[in-house]
């Protein structure tokens, strides 16, 4: 691992699907990076391509891929060059793990939780089953699930517990990055907070990075150092977390933050009029233009990505001259 090199660097990643209606531009020229032992959150509305981005990074592609190009560097190494077999062996779970969306259902109902959690270790680290169970036991300790639950089946566990088990399953091979796809949706707030605390604690104790995918800005704000905002398959803003929450630059980011309820402010919740554009035939130019309050003529052209006060923002507003 080279010093200063981010754990994950994605450059111009493109993932298009082909459907009967046409080509869906789910991930369109996305570039971002995740520094070592830090967390980034990908914010965005439903259907903006967040989960597709996660799949594109892990190369978990459906059968109808139209275009899949770009560069993915893991610890400085271009993993896009690896063939399918090597990728599965050297990247998945070894470099990058994933806690899938709806992780509560991501457990095989006919396997004991312990079997399930130890399986990645057996498959990737080449350890014996007994050793893998020992590792699973340790992971259960980390994520705060009592050891005796190793012997249980998934249906005997609560939703929060299953979520923790899924995290343990992602952790067991000690990857450098974990992609958490909506890890706290469908859980009550107390469980959400407790899981977020667990994740935070793990990050303090282990050299691990997170890529958090969520639309829940409030819960994630406590955990992450970086924020990326995704809109219609593109990243429209990337910045440090504090800067972002104080002063988002992209009009969409602002609208997004304004839509978060605040307890002591007498202020009507805002929403963004209109609907996100279809990824089938996205409009030329800025994709947010139709819903943007500050739109002007130049928005009809593709906006450049600019660096403004440490933010990377893709908007014509910040182009001077």
């Amino acid at each position: 691992m080279r010093e200063g090199e981010p754990v994950l660097r994605v450059e111009d990643l493109i993932l298009y699907f082909v459907t009967t209606k046409g080509v869906v531009q789910a991930v369109d020229k996305v570039s971002l990076s995740v520094p070592h032992n830090q967390a980034i959150v990908i914010l965005g509305e439903s259907g903006c391509g967040k989960s597709s981005l996660a799949r594109a990074i892990l190369r978990l592609l459906p059968r109808n891929v139209y275009q899949y190009t770009g560069k993915v560097y893991l610890d400085g190494r271009d993993v896009m060059e690896l063939d399918e077999e090597n990728f599965a062996r050297e990247v998945r779970w070894v470099g990058i793990s994933m806690v899938p969306q709806a992780a509560m259902n991501a457990l095989n109902p006919v396997l004991k939780v312990g079997d399930q959690v130890s399986e990645p270790a057996v498959l990737h680290l080449g350890v014996s089953k007994a050793e893998a169970w020992d590792m699973a036991r340790k992971m259960f300790d980390y994520v705060g699930v009592p050891e005796r639950f190793l012997q249980r089946y998934p249906f005997e566990l609560s939703g929060g517990m299953r979520q923790r088990v899924a995290i343990a399953m992602a952790l067991i091979t000690m990857p450098s990055l974990i992609i958490l796809d909506e890890p706290t949706s469908a859980l009550d707030v107390l469980t959400q907070a407790s899981i977020m605390n667990t994740l935070k604690q793990i990050k303090q104790e282990m050299p691990i990075s997170y890529m958090l995918i969520t639309h829940d800005i409030a819960t994630s704000s406590d955990l992450v150092e970086h924020v990326a905002v995704m809109y219609a398959g593109q990243i429209v803003e990337v910045s440090k977390a504090e800067a972002f929450f104080q002063q988002p630059l992209h009009p969409y980011s602002r609208k997004l933050l304004a839509a978060v309820p605040r307890l002591y402010e007498k202020q009507a919740l805002e929403f963004i009029p209109g609907r996100p554009p279809s990824l089938l035939n996205p409009p030329a130019g800025c994709r947010f233009a139709d819903r943007c309050p500050s739109r002007f003529d130049r928005c009809a052209e593709e906006p450049p990505t600019l660096s403004v006060d440490g933010h990377l923002v893709k908007c014509w507003l910040y182009v001077t001259g």
Partner: protein
């Protein structure tokens, strides 16, 4: 272990499951007993033995237990063999040779006449064949001369009903009746004669011309009932076939059902998982096989190739693998394939086969087990149907073969109902047992089928 215990506890809640399980267990125990008690080779030898093996049994008689339900008892076979000491033997020197007297005594208490009477001689001598004269003594003190005959070396059969001289003598002395009736009634019998009850004696007086002559004779007074299962047209004891039918039926049913359902399921899983060309190929093969008629193909295989039960079993399995099950399981697997946990498994690098066997297949097992259990009888019936159509294994005795023999020999028209009903009842009990067990298992494994 725990799961088995749980399953058993669940089963106890369904009376039909208990009955079904008992029937199945009984069949299994019976099969194991039969296979040990009458080994395969022996069963085949017995069943293919012909008249020699079975000469002391009557033809086509019902089982003995029907006497329980009759006021007029039918006779059972009386088999007296001098080699087994069932005759009083007297030997005295006579000139250069000797005289041999065999005296048979038996008690006759049945309300009906025997089916036939035969004597089988076993003789060995040096130069001249010995002579024998047979005399019949009735309980009321009459003495009827049966026959005088020369005993050839080896076996000589004397069949009372086939001796014209005896027939004429009985017509003169008793009346116009066959010997097996005439020898058991008083002279001038009424329209519906009844046998005289009491002690009968048969004396065989033989004259031998050298002292080394050996004479033995087996007197068989054939009854009208036999054993627990009766006999067929070749005097064979149906017990053998009915007993051996159980392991054959179970083996055929189990192998066919397990062989087809499990392979079908795995093929369906493979198709769904690899999709694309593989799936297409499997689906097209299935559609073609679904259109092939199973029975005519089996008949052709049986006629032109081999009627061995194992060949038929193999063809049945081969043709059933790509059956409608593929479509059903495919539908279920398609759904499972999209579950998050399968995707997760793929994400953490489980191989294709690991996903198929550890993630897809186990999910369908609860659906498969009841299915398999209820499928068993249909294959048992298929085997029986093939046998009835004349495609049964020519060597093995099976239930279907017994029915075929019965039908071919006109059992329904000769009122020999036991011959058809016994194997049919066994088939039905087998079907019932597996069906009851299967339907209950279905409820246990698929709780959604239960009423709330």
């Amino acid at each position: 272990m725990q799961t088995v215990k749980d399953a058993l506890r669940e089963i106890r809640r369904y009376p039909s499951a208990i009955v079904g399980l008992l029937i199945v267990l009984m069949l299994v125990v019976l099969s194991i007993y039969v296979v040990i008690a009458i080994p395969y080779r022996e069963a085949i030898t017995l069943w293919r033995g012909g008249e020699g093996t079975w000469r002391s049994l009557p033809r086509t008689v019902p089982p003995a237990w029907i006497n329980t339900f009759r006021s007029q008892k039918l006779p059972e076979t009386i088999d007296l063999d001098s080699r087994k000491g069932a005759a009083e033997r007297q030997e005295a020197p006579l000139g250069e040779g000797k005289s041999v007297t065999l005296l048979y005594t038996f008690d006759y208490q049945a309300d009906d006449f025997p089916r036939e009477i035969n004597i089988f001689f076993e003789t060995s001598y040096k130069e001249r064949a010995p002579f024998a004269s047979i005399t019949w003594y009735t309980p009321d003190g009459r003495e009827i001369a049966i026959a005088d005959l020369a005993l050839q070396a080896g076996s000589t059969s004397y069949r009372f009903a086939q001796d014209d001289k005896l027939l004429r003598r009985i017509r003169r002395q008793v009346g116009d009746v066959p010997p097996e009736v005439g020898l058991f009634v008083a002279p001038n019998p009424p329209e519906n004669p009844r046998p005289l009850k009491g002690t009968y004696r048969v004396k065989i007086q033989a004259t031998a011309f050298d002292p080394e002559t050996q004479i033995d004779a087996e007197l068989v007074v054939y009854g009208k009932v036999h054993g627990i299962a009766g006999t067929d047209h070749l005097r064979r004891d149906l017990k053998i076939a009915l007993l051996w039918g159980a392991p054959v039926a179970l083996a055929f049913g189990l192998l066919a059902a397990a062989g087809t359902t499990i392979t079908t399921m795995i093929i369906a899983a493979i198709g769904v998982w690899f999709s694309g060309v593989v799936d297409n190929l499997i689906q097209r093969i299935t559609e073609i096989v679904l259109m092939l008629p199973l029975l005519p193909i089996l008949i052709m295989v049986g006629t032109f190739y081999s009627r061995s039960i194992w060949v038929i079993l193999g063809v049945t399995i081969l043709l059933s693998i790509f059956g409608s099950g593929i479509k059903t399981y495919r539908a279920v697997f398609m759904q499972i394939r999209e579950s998050p946990y399968v995707e997760a498994a793929q994400a953490y690098g489980a191989s294709d086969w690991r996903i198929i066997f550890r993630y897809l297949v186990p999910r369908i097992v609860p659906m498969l087990i009841p299915n398999l259990v209820t499928l068993i009888p249909s294959y048992v019936f298929l085997e029986a149907s093939l046998a009835v159509l004349g495609l049964g294994d020519p060597q093995l005795p099976t239930w279907g073969k017994v029915i075929q023999d019965a039908v071919a020999n006109g059992a329904p028209y000769k009122a020999l109902y036991y011959w058809v009903l016994e194997p049919s009842a066994l088939l039905m009990i087998t079907g019932l047992g597996f069906a009851m067990l299967g339907f209950s298992l279905d409820r246990i494994f698929n709780p959604r089928l239960r009423e709330m």
